[in-house]
């Protein structure tokens, strides 16, 4: 460090703009001589640091005097970067929500929806572990309703600059929100319904995946892993109406894993500001339960999306549809209960946002979103009189604004209008306020 300070001082003394010297020419010659000397010294320092770079080489600019800084070539940034590649970093995000149903003010609720701490640690240049730990609803104990979760935990190994493999608990790469669910990344206090009820964000599975991108802007991700467990279906509860897949996902919690699932996603970002893509997830979800009437049941979920961000505008649209096969016998065993397993479910939305005002680090972005979704669009045929009618399609308008105090701190407000109220499912016109951050 002393060496660097000395070097910086020397460099500074050389670089400070000359003031009232008369003999500019001789001064220039002197400066040139010193510059050569400094360059030689720098080489020496660099050589010294090429040895085990245990301490990151600080840059000269970092120890500059209060009056000026010299931006130059003294450090070995590669050594710094490599040191960081094998270091540990922390990040996080959080979301606090207030929901006030306009017709049922007594149901108004304020909630610390989630607080997340993320970490990554590089074991070497190509291998790192990446994890996120999450607390939902503020307090977790036997008497409270909060949850503590490991949201992601995987090893990533880069095989080449443009592709690699991941293994562990990973986010399923479907939709626009599941992989990018930080509150600063989406409009509105709550995540949209389609990517909550149909694509059950935050959806993760344990497994192995390959990922990569091409120079033409294609980004791919394909993997095999665990899947939902249809044996968890609770026909007596409305969970399956709220989100069929969220009610049977396993989150790698002692996950039943006889039947592997496959997933794949492809996105194209070859034109700046445009993202066109889609993904699929499929797997058997009977998991080999003895005597289970839907042992051959298979889930399929597909989605397609587009997001276009021209200038201050941000447009996105997504459509997704899922099916669960071979549920006839299982649903027959649920006769009389409110929530049989759907044969198909779907949803879609279109959203437009406009960064209307920007000042310093702040911006204000009003948005409008229209969603349609149905978590029980069809049910497997049953004998006359025992069948279940399809659920009505829910339609939601959301009008609101994200106010970014800076790009990483957001305050949100919106109003949501539902075409059909359903208190049990939380559907009903409401007014929402939210706070979100990310670091």
């Amino acid at each position: 460090m002393m060496r660097h300070i000395a070097l910086a001082a020397l460099a500074l003394s050389v670089m400070l703009p000359p003031t009232a010297h008369a003999d500019e020419v001789s001064l220039q010659a002197e400066v040139d001589a010193l510059r050569t000397e400094v360059a030689a010294l720098k080489d020496e320092v660099r050589q010294m640091h090429k040895a085990p770079a245990t301490t990151p080489a600080p840059a000269v600019g970092a120890v500059a005097s209060p009056s000026s800084a010299v931006v130059n070539a003294a450090a070995t940034p590669q050594a710094v970067a490599n040191a960081e590649n094998t270091g540990t970093t922390l990040w996080g995000y959080g979301q606090l929500d207030y929901n006030r149903p306009t017709a049922h003010a007594a149901d108004a609720q304020a909630d610390l929806r989630r607080a997340v701490i993320g970490f990554s640690h590089g074991f070497d240049e190509n291998t790192r572990v990446y994890g996120e730990l999450e607390w939902e609803h503020a307090v977790t104990s036997a008497n409270d309703r909060g949850e503590t979760e490991v949201e992601q935990l995987y090893i990533e190994h880069a095989l080449a600059p443009s592709y690699g493999v991941r293994a562990g608990l990973m986010l399923v790469p479907l939709g626009l929100l599941n992989e990018h669910h930080e509150p600063t990344q989406f409009y509105g206090v709550e995540r949209n319904f389609v990517e909550t009820a149909i694509i059950p964000s935050t959806w993760r599975e344990g497994g192995v995946a390959g990922y990569g991108s091409t120079d033409s802007g294609l980004i791919w991700n394909i993997g095999v892993g665990t899947g939902p467990d249809l044996g968890k279906w609770d026909a007596a509860s409305t969970d399956g109406q709220q989100s069929p897949l969220a009610s049977i996902h396993q989150e790698l919690q002692l996950a039943r894993a006889r039947d592997p699932s496959l997933f794949g996603a492809l996105n194209w970002q070859g034109v700046p500001g445009l993202n066109v893509g889609g993904g699929i997830f499929t797997g058997k979800i009977g998991q080999g339960t003895p005597q289970f009437p839907a042992d051959n049941a298979r889930v399929f979920l597909g989605e397609a999306h587009v997001r276009w961000q021209p200038g201050p505008f941000d447009f996105s649209a997504l459509y997704t549809r899922g099916t669960i096969s071979d549920t006839q016998a299982l649903n027959a065993s649920f006769a009389g209960q409110p929530t049989p397993v759907p044969k198909s479910f779907w949803g879609g939305y279109a959203q437009a946002a406009w960064r209307a005002l920007t000042w310093n680090q702040s911006s204000l972005a009003p948005f409008l979103r229209y969603e349609m979704f149905n978590t029980g669009a069809t049910y497997a045929a049953q004998p006359q009189g025992l069948g279940t009618p399809p659920l009505p399609t829910e339609r939601v308008w959301t009008l609101g604004a994200n106010y970014y105090l800076n790009p990483n701190v957001v305050f949100k407000i919106d109003y949501q209008n539902f075409n059909r109220d359903d208190l049990a499912l939380g559907y009903g016109d409401r007014f929402d306020l939210g706070i979100g951050y990310q670091f």
Partner: protein, 179 residues
């Protein structure tokens, strides 16, 4: 049924077996040669920034880009190339910015990227947006530089970094006489 698991696992293991050097996409020397194929020397250069300028640039602590002047065999200045680092989401991204003699961007190259997500900034179509930009352009995300959804932080921080380097050129290098 168990065999189904073995296929992708086997593929993964086979791929791991042929380990490549992954962290670095390009060395600064490669970036120098790519941006200035006619150059014969890359002379380390210096820029002096006063505290007020540093504050204006909102430079992070320890900010220390490296600068080289590209010169041809007959000692003509061909332009400048700068190597700098920014933080993506949580990890450092090292990149190189090449400027012509008018201070307009010739190329932006990502040298090193270690983030688990957001590597899409390496896509050439995104980086080409910077070509031709000068210190007089806003060089601001979602204004003259379009975002990559899913890589917002990387895009924002690289864009801010390029804007700073363009200011370094405008405030110091532009008026600098050849050494």
């Amino acid at each position: 049924m168990y065999l189904r698991w073995l296929i992708p696992l086997g593929t993964g293991v086979a791929a791991v077996a042929q380990i490549a050097h992954a962290a670095q996409y390009m060395t600064i020397e490669q970036a120098q040669r790519a941006a200035f194929p006619a150059a014969t020397t890359f002379a380390p250069a210096h820029a002096v920034l006063d505290a007020a300028t540093m504050a204006t640039l909102a430079a992070p602590a320890g900010w220390a880009p490296q600068i080289w002047q590209a010169r041809s065999g007959d000692n003509q200045i061909l332009g400048w190339i700068m190597e700098d680092r920014v933080i993506g989401k949580s990890e450092a991204i090292t990149y190189a910015l090449a400027l012509d003699t008018n201070g307009a961007v010739l190329a932006l190259e990502i040298l090193d990227y270690r983030e688990a997500h957001g590597g899409e900034i390496r896509i050439p179509a995104w980086r080409r947006q910077f070509v031709g930009k000068t210190a007089r352009d806003p060089v601001t995300l979602n204004r003259d530089i379009k975002n990559i959804s899913g890589a917002t932080l990387s895009c924002r921080h690289i864009t801010e970094g390029v804007q700073r380097l363009l200011q370094v050129y405008a405030r110091t290098l532009r008026t600098k006489s050849p050494d």
